[in-house]
């Protein structure tokens, strides 16, 4: 069985541990909230392309905490330079999950360049992260995510999602409050 975001998040939920999990805007956030909401999830509401830089900042500022960024292919493509900065800074506690469905899901499913040959795992290798690989099923995703947590990063796991997600209902979407302060309170000592 192939992957979709909702199933992938549900399967990853028990593996998150005490990680700060940051989801980029739109589908990445909606599905994370619907399938695997927890107190240490940070849902970005706008600023497409900035999930990785926000995760980098948190990872550098909170080096003892695992930081996981849940990105989409469209958002990563909007800011490939951000991956190069992750390669340059090399935070060992950062894992980037890219859910690659080849579509701009939030805006109606238009094709992204990963459908036309762009290979984000190879981009990851090229910018010098510790590991970068593509997975296509749930068991490989969990295995890759666990392995990433056990070895110094940064790590990139590109999960090819070839099965569609149903659009979360309005009730399943993260509420429109801002949870920056809530997650910050868990990281700031004293």
């Amino acid at each position: 069985m192939g992957l979709n975001r909702m199933r992938a998040y549900a399967a990853l939920r028990p593996e998150f541990g005490d990680a700060v999990v940051i989801a980029t805007l739109g589908y990445s956030s909606w599905c994370l909230y619907a399938a695997a909401h927890r107190e240490s999830n940070l849902y970005l509401r706008g600023s497409m392309g900035l999930g990785v830089p926000v995760g980098l900042g948190v990872a550098l500022a909170a080096p003892r905490r695992r930081v996981v960024v849940c990105e989409g292919d469209g958002s990563v493509l909007m800011n490939l330079g951000g991956l190069a900065t992750v390669g340059a800074c090399g935070p060992p506690n950062l894992t980037i999950l890219v859910f690659d469905d080849g579509r701009y899901m939030t805006t109606g499913g238009q094709a992204t360049h990963t459908r036309r040959g762009a290979d984000l795992a190879r981009v990851g290798l090229a910018v010098g992260v510790s590991s970068s690989r593509t997975v296509r099923d749930e068991a490989s995703l969990i295995e890759a995510f666990t392995a990433a947590g056990a070895a110094p990063g940064p790590h990139i796991v590109v999960a090819t999602c070839d099965e569609p997600d149903s659009r979360p209902s309005a009730a399943d979407m993260p509420p429109p409050y801002i949870n920056v302060e809530q997650v910050r309170a868990q990281l700031v000592v004293g």
């Binding site: 900035l50 900065t85 990281l187």
Partner: protein, 177 residues
């Protein structure tokens, strides 16, 4: 006239910026390279400050948001043209989520700058800051750099909003490239 070179350079703006960062306990600098900001970055790399060089200014705003969530004080240093690169990040990330982000903006393209491509953003950068309700201070005298940058940093964390200190040629002596 108090405009001779000796009196302008007697106080070094780069040292004054670093002094302000020490005063405010700012430990990290996020930046996109710029020739006016270069001496600050150069000297910071020899001190205890951590530097993150980003590929684009809006990416820097993402990293600044991450530092805030992780509990670290930081400053973003960018050119006025870089402000143009980062407008949506200012709006939909920093302002929408009320995230403090002190910015030191090197104002390029003033009269005397030979790079004409910098002129448009030198004209509108201060107005864009105003339109976004971002508090800013325009620095025209190296003697006020330490005070003004310090106040700007404090204001960002007090108000939970981006703030800016705009460094003009009058304060830095001007570097063109």
């Amino acid at each position: 006239m108090a405009t001779d070179t000796a009196s302008l350079t007697a106080i070094d703006y780069a040292d004054e910026v670093l002094g302000a960062l020490r005063d405010e306990d700012v430990k990290r600098i996020v930046y996109v390279p710029d020739s006016v900001l270069a001496p600050i970055v150069e000297r910071a790399s020899c001190s205890s400050l951590d530097l993150v060089s980003v590929t684009r200014e809006e990416e820097g705003m993402g990293v600044m948001a991450g530092f805030y969530v992780g509990g670290e004080k930081a400053i973003l240093m960018l050119q006025s043209s870089g402000l143009g690169n980062s407008l949506n990040a200012l709006g939909s990330l920093l302002i929408a989520s009320r995230i403090p982000c002190p910015m030191l903006v090197s104002l390029r393209g003033e009269i005397g700058d030979r790079n004409f491509a910098q002129v448009p953003w030198s004209r509108v950068a201060p107005q864009v800051l105003d339109l976004l309700a971002i508090q800013s201070v325009r620095i025209t005298d190296p003697a006020t750099v330490r005070h003004d940058v310090g106040e700007m940093v404090r204001s960002a964390y007090r108000w939970h909003y981006p703030t800016a200190a705009v460094l003009t040629r009058a304060a830095t002596g001007g570097v063109d490239d």
